[in-house]
């Protein structure tokens, strides 16, 4: 999924006739002052970072004077919010809200249809509200062919307790959100708060949106405005992670690899297959090992990709062993994978007789893999052992090499 930054989400939804507050983007305190002048007081300044719950993290400020806007902007810019550096702000009109509603559209994971959630008790504590007074939250799925019917939007708000002009305004905006969800191939659109203004009109005050990476090809309007895959990380990419992306992208059509750096750890982790990697990480941890990273590869990677990954994995400070394992495959050339590992070990001058290395590779060309690894002093295992055995073997080797491990 691509997380869409709030300014882009607001532009896009405004194109779908959904009212949003007047806003501008600023990257300097001076820019924030300019924005303040053009929008007029009071304003809200929000850190433009791809994370939710910004208010609770201190990323939302208010200003009713020029100087205040400048000061708040100066304080926010350059800060980090949940690990993301704040280099831009969204400066927007602070609306005078009579009521804060909540509305979201996502896919219901078991119904496998779009699901709408609304509540008349919106705001930052919506999750707690859903827990403490579940009756205030109204949920309904809709048919992806038919879309969200207007009557259904109305019914939901009525059940949530709205009436009169509030009901009409909220219905209209919810129907439009349903349409935008389908039109944009969105995976989530969340409006919190969906504000009812003093004059009774309705606006999408704060917006969170994610779109389907796999459908970006049919949305020219979003190209360049969203970052594919931006929902995967819980923090910005580390330097090593960025380098590993470059390694992966150097051979974009042969094999895939993803490197995620863990805090601490001492076992370099290079595993094959999404499921197999989950199993191996759990198993290593359960046997007492401490993986330093999480790397999964698949799709028969070329030697230089495996070499690049292995080298990267071993370059993290504190890594004292290498664990390579994958499930039995029918397309991975195990000799090619082995050659990449051996090249990295040689280049880094690592002696597998003293540095613990465990390899469990079962696929194509196993005898050749065994030859390549044995020549380099690495013990080869294929389907003579299970994946679980490989994990316990790795931890045993760590214990043998490092007393007290």
């Amino acid at each position: 999924m691509s997380r869409v930054l709030e300014n882009v989400a607001k532009e896009v939804l405004r194109e779908h006739s959904i009212p949003v507050p007047q806003f501008a983007v600023a990257s300097t305190p001076q820019g924030a002052v300019e924005a303040f002048k053009s929008i007029g007081p009071p304003v809200v300044l929000k850190a433009l970072v791809p994370v939710g719950k910004r208010g609770k993290a201190g990323g939302v400020r208010f200003a009713s004077e020029e100087g205040e806007a400048e000061e708040q902007a100066r304080d926010l810019l350059g800060r980090e919010l949940r690990g993301f550096p704040v280099d831009r702000l969204i400066v927007e009109q602070k609306l005078d809200l009579a009521k804060e509603l909540y509305a979201s559209i996502t896919f219901h994971p078991s119904e496998r249809r779009p699901v709408v959630v609304v509540s008349a008790l919106g705001g930052v504590d919506i999750e707690e509200t859903a827990q403490t007074s579940p009756g205030s939250v109204v949920t309904a799925t809709f048919d992806p062919f038919v879309g969200l019917p207007v009557y259904k939007a109305r019914e939901m708000w009525s059940d949530a307790g709205l009436s009169g002009s509030e009901l009409r305004g909220a219905t209209d905006i919810l129907w439009k959100l349903g349409k935008a969800f389908l039109d944009l191939d969105a995976k989530i659109i969340e409006v919190n708060p969906l504000g009812i203004l003093q004059d009774g009109s309705v606006a999408a005050v704060a917006l969170l949106m994610g779109v389907d990476d796999d459908a970006l090809y049919r949305h020219q309007a979003l190209s360049g405005r969203v970052q594919a895959g931006s929902d995967r990380a819980w923090r910005p990419l580390t330097k090593l992670e960025k380098e590993m992306i470059a390694v992966d992208e150097a051979d974009p059509y042969r094999g895939t690899a993803r490197y995620t750096e863990m805090d601490g750890g001492d076992i370099g982790f290079l595993c094959g297959g999404g499921g197999g990697s989950l199993l191996m990480f759990d198993a290593l941890s359960r046997h007492g090992g401490r993986p330093a990273n999480y790397t999964e590869f698949g799709g028969n990677p070329p030697e230089r990709k495996v070499y690049g990954l292995t080298k990267g994995i071993l370059s993290k400070p504190g890594v004292k062993g290498l664990f390579v394992a994958m499930n039995i495959t029918n397309n991975t050339q195990t000799d090619v994978v082995s050659a990449g590992i051996v090249r990295a070990l040689n280049e880094l001058d690592i002696d597998p007789r003293t540095f613990p290395v465990t390899v469990r590779l079962a696929g194509v060309n196993e005898p050749e893999a065994k030859a390549v690894l044995s020549a380099a002093g690495v013990e080869y295992h294929g389907d003579d052992i299970t994946m679980e055995d490989a994990a316990s073997m790795m931890v045993k080797k760590m214990r043998a090499a490092y007393p007290g491990y």
Binding site: M1, R3, V51, G52, G83, Y102, S104, I105, T106, F107, H108, P109, S110, R112, R113, P114, V115, V117, I126, E127, A130, P144, F145, D185, K187, I188, E190, N192, L208, D212, D213, D214, A215, Y217, D231, R232, A233, W234, G272, G273, G274, G275, G276, L278, L279, F281, D282, A283, R286, M326, N327, I328, T329, N330, N331, D383, T386, M387, E388, D389
Partner: protein, 298 residues
């Protein structure tokens, strides 16, 4: 017998002339699977390892019984390919294609549900019934017997690669597989574990099922409910991987919607609890699949 695919299935491959699809065609034929026809628009009249290629399924149906379609077309054309199969009375559609837009998947699920068609995938590695020598898709490659031998254990896996590894554990334990199904790795897929357990429950040959589960989706929790309500009465050995993800820092969650809609479901610990409460065997170690199978099958 087996579920989903057997020696009588009338199999058609959509996108058969592609590199991957033609290789899979060869492997499947070598295994003994009967593939009736293939479709690639504009390539009608050609053949792939002797399998005739047609421009449309409508043409392919002349004189042929076709009830199963395997889809290898690019992501943008998958939805249309499913429609074509369904309109031509196909009963089982297996989608091998990765990266199908999720809205297309939601639509094709809604559409096939109405028409009584079973969809497996997208992003599946295939389905295999070893006793029938019938395989759909890449599963097993050119050496299916390495992991998949005939037997009485059903296999259901969210991970493509682990479908084979689970079947191999069954083989190590001294048993074999009735049918193994790779559900597809995406969050939204046509057939859920519960759907397949319904079929395995009906299948006389299947005596137990091994299931591979992962974080995300409420599928394992649904299985727990399904067993608790008497929907599946045979032994289920369920392995849930990815326990470590619960220790990762928060921040991966985007917005409140997921929490409101799903609560805590999707977490490995929630899945394990639901499965155990319902009476499924949930080993901590993947190796224990062997001993648990021996215990339940004797």
């Amino acid at each position: 017998m087996a579920i989903l695919v057997n020696s009588h299935s009338g199999i058609l491959i959509q996108g058969i002339t592609g590199r991957e699809a033609s290789m899979v065609t060869k492997h499947s034929l070598d295994y003994g699977t009967r593939i009736v026809a293939g479709v690639t628009p504009g390539k009608g009249g050609e053949n792939v390892y002797g399998v005739p290629v047609f421009d449309t399924i409508k043409q392919a149906r002349h004189g042929n019984h076709i009830d199963t379609a395997v889809i290898y077309v690019p992501p943008a054309f998958v939805y249309d390919a499913v429609l074509e199969a369904v309109d031509n009375e196909v009963k089982l559609v297996l989608i091998m294609t990765e990266r199908v837009p999720v809205h297309d998947v939601a639509k094709l699920i809604a559409m096939t549900r109405q028409r009584g068609v079973t969809v497996v995938g997208p992003n599946s590695v295939g389905i295999i019934s070893p006793g029938e020598r019938a395989k759909l898709g890449a599963i097993g490659g050119d050496n299916p017997a390495r992991c998949f031998v005939p037997g009485t254990v059903g296999v259901i896996s969210r991970s493509g690669g682990m479908t084979a590894e689970c079947a191999w554990m069954v083989k190590r334990a001294g048993y074999g597989v009735s049918t193994a199904v790779s559900l597809g790795g995406d969050a939204m897929v046509g057939s859920t574990p519960k759907d397949l357990l319904k079929m395995f429950e009906q299948d006389k040959e299947t005596q137990a099922v091994v299931m591979w589960g992962e974080p995300g989706t409420p599928y394992e929790e649904e299985v727990g409910d399904f067993i608790a309500n008497g929907g599946f009465t045979k032994p289920l050995v369920a392995f849930v991987a990815g326990r470590f993800v619960e220790d990762l820092p928060e921040g991966t969650v985007f917005g409140h919607a997921a929490s409101i809609v799903q609560g805590k479901s999707g977490r490995p610990s929630t899945k394990i609890a639901a499965l155990k409460t319902a009476g499924a065997y949930v080993p901590d170690s993947f190796n224990d699949i062997e001993s648990v199978l021996k215990q339940v099958l004797g």
